[in-house]
Symmetry: C3
Subunit: 352 residues, 3 copies
Amino acid sequence: MTVESTVENKGNFFEDFSVGQEIIHATPRTLTTGDAALYMALFGSRFALQSSDFFAQSLGFSVSPLDDLLIFHVVFGKSVPDVSLNAVANLGYAGGRFLTPVFPGNTLTARSTVIGLRENTNGKTGIVYVNTTGTNQHGEVVLDYARWVMVAKRNPDTPAPEPVIPTLPAAVAASDLRAPEGIDYKRLDASASGSTQLWDDFEAGMKFDHRDGVTVEEAEHMLATRLYQNTARVHFDGFTQKDSRFGRRLIYGGHVISLARALSFNGLSNGFHIAAINAGRHVAPLFAGDTVFAWSEIVDKAPLECRADIGALRVCTRATKNRLCANYPGARDDDTDGLILDFDYWLLMPRR
Amino acid sequence: MTVESTVENKGNFFEDFSVGQEIIHATPRTLTTGDAALYMALFGSRFALQSSDFFAQSLGFSVSPLDDLLIFHVVFGKSVPDVSLNAVANLGYAGGRFLTPVFPGNTLTARSTVIGLRENTNGKTGIVYVNTTGTNQHGEVVLDYARWVMVAKRNPDTPAPEPVIPTLPAAVAASDLRAPEGIDYKRLDASASGSTQLWDDFEAGMKFDHRDGVTVEEAEHMLATRLYQNTARVHFDGFTQKDSRFGRRLIYGGHVISLARALSFNGLSNGFHIAAINAGRHVAPLFAGDTVFAWSEIVDKAPLECRADIGALRVCTRATKNRLCANYPGARDDDTDGLILDFDYWLLMPRR
Amino acid sequence: MTVESTVENKGNFFEDFSVGQEIIHATPRTLTTGDAALYMALFGSRFALQSSDFFAQSLGFSVSPLDDLLIFHVVFGKSVPDVSLNAVANLGYAGGRFLTPVFPGNTLTARSTVIGLRENTNGKTGIVYVNTTGTNQHGEVVLDYARWVMVAKRNPDTPAPEPVIPTLPAAVAASDLRAPEGIDYKRLDASASGSTQLWDDFEAGMKFDHRDGVTVEEAEHMLATRLYQNTARVHFDGFTQKDSRFGRRLIYGGHVISLARALSFNGLSNGFHIAAINAGRHVAPLFAGDTVFAWSEIVDKAPLECRADIGALRVCTRATKNRLCANYPGARDDDTDGLILDFDYWLLMPRR
């Protein structure tokens, strides 16, 4: 069953979803070098592959691919008006895979399939599980992920649907990871990329304090979130938010992920691609005026099938607000003061 | 008579204008996908035609045209150093017509003709009426509009000129509207554009609360206004503005128009083009920290000559600050609390 | 001797530098029309050559070159992680020359050679002199300049190196200036550029109050500085800066230079190229919320060899914060209240 997007309405409520329902999200988006420049200005990322066409070409790309998280945010943003406009909470992501690089000039569309539903016992809300895909203008899926959100019911008296809870992977299997084809990462120029440390040099258990901190302004997170055409009101409407639990605008959780990823260059300079998002937990909200720090831990590593030039590192990046990361906050469950993000992903890094 | 631009001087005073005078405004401007990305980050517009090259091509465009209001702001901005640097007030617009789409890579120039002058009875100021045109690098006029501003006199003792008050239309006639040629809007993919509601479904009297609100930051309106190379000091110079009537920077009125237009996607998703600006009234100023809401009323509709694929809707969009629009503020003359903008324009929307 | 970049480490300390050492800075950067649009939004520059491809082509360029200061900031930014991450102070620039225009699509790399070292008598810091070059993807040097910074020692007990103090020019000789080749600036359209005043009309001693003022926001200077991939923590980390001497984020000095350059259009509209940076002194820091004003003085003029179409003006541009420039602050040594920048450079301007 295919339904049209409902963006001009008041968003979907829990009752509006049914398992198997497919939603085509509105407003396809052509990404350009203009978006890449804005993403640079917003996060200051320094990974050479996304920064230099010349560097990208030296590995076999036509031009620099766009940042993986920019793709994620754009696809996610498209799903907001249909999936989470009436969300009480974004509960999690799982099984995210980046399947094809996206280049300036590519046009992305997004669609979601409802893969699970479970009403909460209070009868006022329910959990909606969707699988969302982003597709380029050639029909190639560029990104595929599951997420689940708590959505308000329109009417508490509506009977609960039969609960369907999908099986979601704790992590993407290394054998399911894809590296860009036709590229030879052995040609890496380490003086350009900023580090001679390659996949071979990393082991599970290694920790890196990314050291730098960045204070976030209201104008910045709103520029970013609008760039993704994400319309969630809590990020923009300071007037209505005055009466909310936090009394102010909430920063889009993806903003924290992008900030942490940019900071992670200090330690993971050759981590060119995010191949998979295993899980992302927004431990606490971030507000304008807060300063974000981050650290990462290598939790696993795996070669990629048929690829001697690039391998995968499973990384857990944690971000804090207003707390330095020299002693790795969040590494122990009882030390989560200031922790705002726990992001578990597979990073691809060239091999020696 | 043609005079050179006077941007390096102190701007023109009322005495410097004469009816029939033509002013070539300085600094032609090539617009690019970079400008489109910034405009997206600033306003978060979701109209599919301006967002997706692929969607635009499906209708017959080569690529996505740039947002009509971006064109307006750039042309308007060029006229500021010559026309309104010494303006006491921007009084109004009329007869604005968008004549040719503008695409990334096009270069715009602007010129104005003085079409009216009237000294005020206080002898200190006068009203200057200009007709301003924006032209692309092929010499095609892309935008044509009249505006009138109250300008200070250099010397109150200068004798008043013979008053000339131009006849300006209350609204652009539907027969004067132009839709892009060579396009077939019947090919519209409603799942991409976000709505199945087309021109046929709208009737005069319909009202739409656009629902979302957006809080504005100083950094945002200044980034926008500089992007248009608009140099009006009141928007940028907080130091001097401390001693002004409002004690702070004023936000460019066009910023409100663009915010309201982006919000209007909720209800007018297929309103792809602004064909004409009938009138625009900035009822009250907007300041950083205020939250903008908007609603629209359909006030008229008209088919376009020789076009079965697209028609015109005359829309009045009203914006407020710090006030929700559920009860349509400004719909009655005695309910203008929080009203900041009353914008009357012709929108083009595909037909069934 | 060539060493790899050390960006993943804690930056270089005084002991890490040796005279003759060559540092290849990480992360090459392709600049695009997206960067040009952002630079426009950040500074609102109105010089016709950088604003209009059509205007640029009328002089013989393929398209508009990128702003010279954008090039400077990007090259400078690349050197920060290796040269000045542990800098106590940026002391000065000298001998900066812009050698080749940079166009959208060009990729820049940067490298520095240590040309001098001198430990301070306190034993805790030393002065590092570097010559930094920016190179395009064809291997052409686009920018070449010297700078010196005070850098902390890792260990005060390390013995001081033999002092080497390079000879740096007080100003670039006019005979060393380069104007773009194959261009005929005589074709200038003064109605487009905004002024009929050309090189011939300027004389040493002339002063110009650029009049406009611009208030700076935290979001703006951070967006700009990240666009240049400049990682100096003092600009971004408000949390750590609370305990610093100023108690808050410091604005990158180059931001002030770009603001002053954009303001200088009022008076120097045809000053299309910065050919050389003779010296730049950041007299006092700028903070968010301050309003910047600027004025310029012509201090010398020189024809260029083999060029009848364009000449050089040596300009000193001074910027202030929260002080108007009508009486030229900084013109006298005892009138430096509010002065923040003293920037000495060679400007190229078309001749009659």
